[in-house]
């Protein structure tokens, strides 16, 4: 073994079997690894120089729902067949990370893409992970896999050097083989890994290829499991099938917080083949097919007492202000202050005020929540395996362990690549329900939520109300900015505009509906309020909205995307303007990336319906990993954002969701898509950050600003143009 290599890599102390200096924990870890993978080479990326004695699987134990230190980042295995497998706790929900992470490994080693696979989101096989959210996969996991791959490359070169009795410097990796310069001798990975049982831990400081040397950077990499998707072969959770499996159905209350007064399960319990499960508030049935399970639940007689005094969607914004402040479970208000907003406002030559609102909206992933649960062992006393589409496999494992009073090492959560999430699949409701039914029925049970259940019992993007006050001096420069957000959430709340006196505050409030994560979180509402208000002030002081923004903008990255979008759009040039058409611009940043969108909107003079004619979005997220997938994400985010901008909003009254179907809750369809143009700025000098979320934040204010430009009407509520139930399909 060439020691120089090891020093050059600044690795953790050697833990090769070759050196036979193992500590007990690594011995256990090796047994665990090689128990499932048999032989070959394993590289473990330990984070933050955690002492190796603590790193062995430690992140995989702990109490229910407890987030443990993420001591192991990723594992990489080179099998005796030469195949390379990366292990990560992240999941694929349509954002394309199975492809981009496969690509990172293949590129770094390098080996052909086809020889790399990824094990994702399996709590028995993957290292602990806090969840796939916050655009963290690209900036965190891709570099970790690259580091593990770089370390594996060095091991392979060492092994080949021994075998060839050659200088290591004469060897390089190409196309799945180590090749010797000069002689042309080849050592396939399979040959090098055969008969090995190597486990190596490396730290987080392994050098990797710079972005400028990435081989895939300019060539689109097709989706690695694309063929399975277009042939219907990919098994989503709802497609998983287990021997003897039953189909489940859960009895739901007619409205939120309703109390059960009486229960009669006689008729349902007498139905052949039906297993009824009644446990406290949980009532459900499992049967050989969905229809029988549904009929059984319908046959249960229940009387409910509705809960009174629940606010409706019409009065929700007053309710938020009236109930702001101390909210159980909230971390309390958060705020940012610079200078004195009050003094700035009183010294201003003009003051502007605006109130902006955002409705609750649903993620409406096309694959609703689903789970397949299977208990093994005596009387449901053994281990539990659950297939479910969630963005937090380890979190859901914790929820299951807690719900059933078993330790986490007896629960396995497996997340098949999932039919999207958008932040809406962080929780394990369906998993727990399926496991309850499976336990009661004594057989595996599949539970797929109906669309109505998904719209009613999942959680929503928070609604919120935002008050903005601003002041300008005699030159039209902003001198004061006050921003109060009630319930919408704090993400993306602070402004990048240079304003000397600021007070920005998030006021938590009570929410009558379950609320949680959404694509870009509250940044959608905060950008809507901020970028609409900026437009209002720009118009009032007689400035071009782009010029007004740039006048207050030192941040070069935000300026760059605004300029790029404006240039492609033709902003400020003599764009031909049809009657009823207008132009709007908005920009912002969140989670380390920057976006600007220019929109042309048309307003129907008769009914006031708003149509987006054209949308140009410029986006910058550091070094681009996969330009084609990035373009797909940016376009998809903008299209999803059109729904929240124009027509999505949950209507509710007396604890009931009034539009819990696609026929009553309109989401963007083919005909809603405008001419879309995307400009990607590639900053190879900056680390790559996630891109699935931020491109959604600018479309809504850009549309509202374009509507004002078109007809002089200022829209301050999301959705901007709800026009009732959607038309019948042709």
């Amino acid at each position: 073994m060439n020691e120089e290599t090891v020093e050059g890599l600044s690795l953790e102390p050697e833990r090769y079997e070759l050196h036979a200096e193992e500590e007990q924990h690594w011995e256990a870890a090796r047994r665990e690894f090689f128990g499932s993978v048999r032989g070959g080479i394993v590289v473990v990326l330990a984070l933050d120089q955690v002492p190796a004695t603590r790193a062995s699987g430690a992140g995989r134990r702990g109490g229910p729902g407890v987030s443990l230190p993420q001591e192991i980042g990723v594992w990489l295995h080179i099998g005796e067949d030469g195949r390379v497998t990366g292990y990560t706790g992240k999941v694929e929900v349509g954002q394309g990370v199975r492809t981009s992470l496969t690509q990172a490994i293949a590129d770094e080693l390098p080996v052909p893409l086809a020889s790399v696979r990824l094990v994702m989101g399996d709590t028995d096989l993957s290292p602990f992970d806090g969840g796939t959210s916050g655009s963290r996969t690209s900036p965190v996991v891709a570099p970790q896999l690259r580091k593990a791959a770089a370390a594996a490359r060095e091991i392979l070169l060492d092994l080949a050097a021994r075998r060839a009795k050659a200088e290591r410097a004469s060897l390089f990796l190409e196309d799945g083989k180590v090749v010797q310069r000069g002689t042309g001798r080849e050592f396939p990975l399979a040959e090098l890994a055969a008969g090995q049982r190597l486990l190596k831990a490396v730290g987080d400081d392994v050098p990797t290829k710079p972005a400028t040397a990435w081989q895939f950077a300019d060539a689109p990499v097709p989706r690695v499991n694309g063929r399975a998707i277009v042939t219907g072969g990919h098994r989503y959770t709802s497609d998983v099938r287990r021997p003897g499996m039953l189909h489940g159905k859960v009895l739901r209350a007619p409205s939120a917080n309703a109390r059960r007064e009486s229960l009669d399960t006689g008729a349902a319990g007498a139905m052949p083949g039906v297993a009824l499960v009644v446990e406290d508030d949980f009532i459900g049935a499992a049967a050989p097919d969905e229809l029988t399970a549904a009929r059984a639940v319908e046959a249960i007689r229940v009387e409910w007492e509705a809960a009174g005094g629940q606010p409706s969607s019409r009065e929700i914004f007053d309710y938020f202000k009236a109930n702001a402040g101390e909210v159980p479970g909230s971390r309390g208000p958060t705020s940012h202050t610079a200078g004195s907003a009050a003094e700035g406002l009183s010294a201003a030559s003009r003051v502007f005020e605006g109130t902006y609102t955002a409705a609750y909206i649903a993620h409406a992933p096309l694959e609703p929540r689903a789970a397949v649960a299977e208990w093994s062992g005596e009387n449901g006393d053994g281990t539990l395996t659950v297939w479910t589409g969630t963005q937090r496999p380890f979190g859901v494992r914790g929820e299951l362990a807690q719900a059933f009073g078993v330790s986490e090492d007896r629960v396995r959560v497996i997340v098949p690549d999932t039919g999207s999430g958008y932040g809406g699949k962080h929780t394990g409701e369906a998993a727990i329900e399926a496991a309850r039914l499976a336990k009661g029925a004594g057989k595996p049970v599949k539970l797929v939520w109906t669309r109505e259940e998904e719209f009613t019992w999942a959680y929503f993007r928070p609604a919120g109300v935002i008050d903005v006050r601003s002041g300008v001096d005699a030159d039209g420069a902003l001198t004061a900015w006050e921003f109060h957000n009630y319930n919408a959430g704090a993400s993306g709340m602070r402004t990048l505009y240079d304003i000397p006196n600021q007070h920005v505050e998030f006021h938590p409030s009570r929410s009558p509906l379950r609320q949680g994560s959404y694509r870009a979180l509250a940044a959608t509402a905060n950008h809507f309020a901020r970028e609409t208000h900026m437009d209002e002030v720009a118009r009032a002081v007689g400035m071009d909205p782009l010029a007004f923004r740039k006048k207050h903008l030192g941040d070069a990255r935000l300026r760059a995307v605004l300029d790029a979008a404006a240039e492609r759009f033709g902003w400020g040039e003599a764009l031909r303007r049809s009657p009823g058409h207008g132009f709007g611009i908005a920009g912002g940043h969140e989670k380390g990336s920057y976006v600007a969108t220019c929109v042309e909107a048309a307003v129907d003079p008769a009914g006031g319906a708003v149509r987006i004619v054209r949308a140009v979005t410029a986006f910058e997220c550091g070094a681009i990993i996969n330009p084609d997938n990035l373009r797909n994400q940016v376009e998809g985010a903008v299209i999803m954002g059109i729904g929240g901008a124009l027509f999505e909003g949950i209507a509710f009254q007396d604890g009931k969701i009034l539009n819990a179907r696609f026929s009553r809750y309109r989401v963007p369809r083919f005909s809603d898509v405008p001419v879309l143009e995307t400009v990607l700025l590639d900053r190879k000098d900056l680390p790559s950050v996630g891109a699935g979320e931020t491109p959604i934040v600018a479309i809504a204010p850009a549309v509202g600003n374009a509507v004002f430009d078109a007809i002089g009407v200022r829209l301050r509520s999301l959705p901007l143009a709800p026009n009732g139930a959607e038309p019948e399909p042709a």
């Binding site: 696609f662 083919f670 898509v673």
Partner: protein
């Protein structure tokens, strides 16, 4: 209760024994393990469950097994012939017309039906015909491009 004992799916007569009131979607997925067609809404408003019945696209989630008996049913699993994907499947891969892929089988089946009726649909006709199919990830522009591309392939000219 009426029972259905046979369905003609992807060119093969499948022996089953199911309640005629069950949905075609459930029978395909749960009894025949053809899980390409997906549940998305249960009210024919999302298109995830579209299959062909005697060549016409139908939402399998609101089609009863009873009404499908005797018809020739084609699901996404039946498009591939002798290891050869349908041109529209190829086009979806080439264009990258998917994100999570959950809507893809329904999109492809609706698109296959369209291309049988009109081998050269323009963008407006594609949009009009696929309007009943939802893609929550927003891959719509690429799906339109994939249908156009497949049309070109079907006309024998390779890529459109």
């Amino acid at each position: 209760m009426a029972r259905i004992t046979e369905l003609d799916v992807n060119g093969s007569r499948e022996k089953i024994d199911v309640d005629a009131e069950r949905t075609l979607l459930s029978v395909l997925r749960d009894d025949l393990d053809l899980t390409g067609a997906k549940y998305g809404c249960g009210e024919a408003r999302c298109g995830a469950c579209v299959v062909l019945m005697d060549g016409r696209p139908v939402p399998a989630c609101v089609t009863s097994a009873g009404s499908a008996a005797g018809a020739k049913i084609t699901t996404v699993e039946g498009l591939e012939q002798d290891g050869q994907l349908h041109p529209l499947q190829e086009a979806f891969l080439e264009v990258g017309a998917m994100q999570c892929g959950y809507c893809t089988p329904g999109m492809i089946m609706a698109g296959v039906a369209l291309l049988r009726d009109n081998p050269d649909p323009d963008e407006a006709e594609i949009v009009r015909t696929l309007e009943g199919n939802l893609c929550r990830c927003g891959a719509y522009p690429r799906i339109v491009a994939a249908v156009r591309r497949a049309a070109g392939m079907l006309r024998g000219g390779g890529a459109a």
